[in-house]
Amino acid sequence: MFFQTFILSFIFHVVELKELHEKKIKEILDEKQLWNMPILDKEASIEEVLSVLTGRDHVWIVEEKGSKKLCGVITESDILRLLAPHHLPKYVFGKRYGISLHYGTAKKAKDIMHKHLIKCSLEDKVGNVLARMVNAGIRRLPVVEKDEIVGEITVHYILQILLGKR
C-alpha cells in the first residue's frame, strides 16, 4: 500500500482522500468547466441528443436555449433502453412505457429526460456529495445554484483531482 502510494505520488501529486472529503464543492470546481459541459434545451430533437451522446455519456437539459435553468438529464443508459427492442414490463402503469424510438413516441429531449434530479450545491462537502452518488447509484451530479446549473461533479472529475491532474 505504502509502495503504491509512493509510486503514485512520484508520478502524480496525489491528494489525500480524507482531505478531499472535507473540501467544499466550490473549492474543487473548475469555473471553466461550464463551457465544456454537454447541455441541450428540452425542445431539442432526439437526433441532437444522440449526437451529443456520441461524444459524452450524459447531457443536461435546460428550459430553453441560452438558459441555465436545469430541468432534466439524459444518460447513456436511458438511450440504451430506447435503442434495445422495446419490452413492456409485466405490470404497466403510466405513459412512460409508451415512450419508444421504434414507435415514434420519443421525439424530443423532454420526452425521455429524467425530470427529478439529485443535485448538489457549491457549499456541499465533497464527502457528502460522493455518499449521495453512492446512495442513488449515479455517477454524476449537477452543481446547482438558484435552480441554474453552474457545473457538474462526475466520478472522472474526482479521479482526476485525486491523481493531481486538476
Partner: protein, 385 residues
Amino acid sequence: MLLEIGIALVLAKLAGYALERVKQPAVIGEIVAGIVMGPFIAGKLFGIEYLSPITEGMGQIGIVLLLFISGLEIGVEEIKTAGKKGMLTSMFDVSVAFIFGFIAGYLLGYDIRTSIAIGNILVATSVGITVRTLMEMNALHSKVGELILTVAVLDDVLGILVLSFTLGKGQPMMLLVKVFIFFLIFLMAVFVISKVKDIKFHIPRFALTAAISFAFIFSALAYDLGLAAITGAFFAGLVLSNLPQRRRINEFTRQMGEVFFIPLFFIWVGASFDFYALKDMGPLVLLFIPMAFIGKIIGCSTGAKLCGFKMRDALAVGVGMIPRMEVALVVVTTEITMGVFSEALAHQVLAATILLVIISSLLTPVLLKVVYREEKENKVEEQSG
C-alpha cells in the same frame, strides 16, 4: 406452506412467460397458475392447500406494492399535463363505465351498494394490452394512441377516487369529512415532499426503507379513515413521485413486488376461483361482460368525439380502453375484503371479473385491428375517390 409458495411462484413465472410468448399478458398466466394451485386442481389431486391466511396476507402486501408502484409511475406531473382532451374523455369514460356496471348490478336485482361495487370494478382500464397492440400496428404515436395512454392513466386515478367515495365506511357526511381529511393530508404531504430538495443526513438505503414504510403507513391511514387501503397506497405513490429518488424507489419496489409479493396476489386470486360458482353465474356474466365492453366504448368514444376526433378514431379510442386487468382485480378483491358482497356472490363476482380480464385481453387486439383496418381502407377509398 413454504413448499406451496415455492411451487406456485415457479409455476406462475413459467405460465406468465408462456403467455408472453403468445403475446398475451403475463398476469393471466399468474392467475392460471393460481387456478392450478387452488383447491379444485392441485388441492384435489395432491392435497395441496394453497389458500390460507398467510398467502392471503402476502397477496394483500402485493396489492399495496402494486398500487404504490402505480401511483409512483403515474406521478402528479402526468396528471397535471393530461390536458383538456384527456380530462374530458376520461370523465366520460369513468362515469359511463361506472353507470353501465351499476345498471348491470341493478338489473340483476342486487342492492344499491352491491351495484355500486360492480360499477367500480369496470372503471379502470389496463393499458398494457392496448399499448402492445398499438405498437404492433405502429399506431402508438397517433392521436388515438396518445389519447388512450392519457385517458388510461387518468382513469386509474379516477377509479380509485370513485372507489373511495362510494364504498367508504360510515355515514355519508362523516365519510365526506374523512375523505376531506385524507386529501388534506395528501396535499400537505405533496407540499412537504416538494420542499425536500436536499437531505443532509446519509443513512444507506434510507430513502428506500422510508418510501416503503410510507406506503404502508399511508395505506393504514386510509383504512383507518374508512377508505380502502389501496387508496392510501396509490396516493402514497403519487406523493413520492416528485422525489428526486423516485426512479430508485420505483426500481427497488418493482424488484421486490414483481418477484415475490405481486405474483402471490394474482396466484391467490386464481386459487380463489370457485368452479362451483360457474353454474350460478350465467346471468351475471351475460350482463357484466357485455356491459364492461359497451360502457367503455360508449363513454370513451363520446368523450373523444366531443374533443373533435373523427367517429372512427373516437371508436378506436373506445375499443382501446376495453381491457381490464390489474386494477380491476385489486378493486374486486378489496371489495370482497370489505365485505360488500355475500359469500356466494363474492365467488361469482370474482370469477366473472377473472373471465372479463381474460376475454377483454383476447378480444381487444382483434377489435382494435378491425377498427384500424376499417380506417385504413376508408383512407384508401377517400384517396382513390
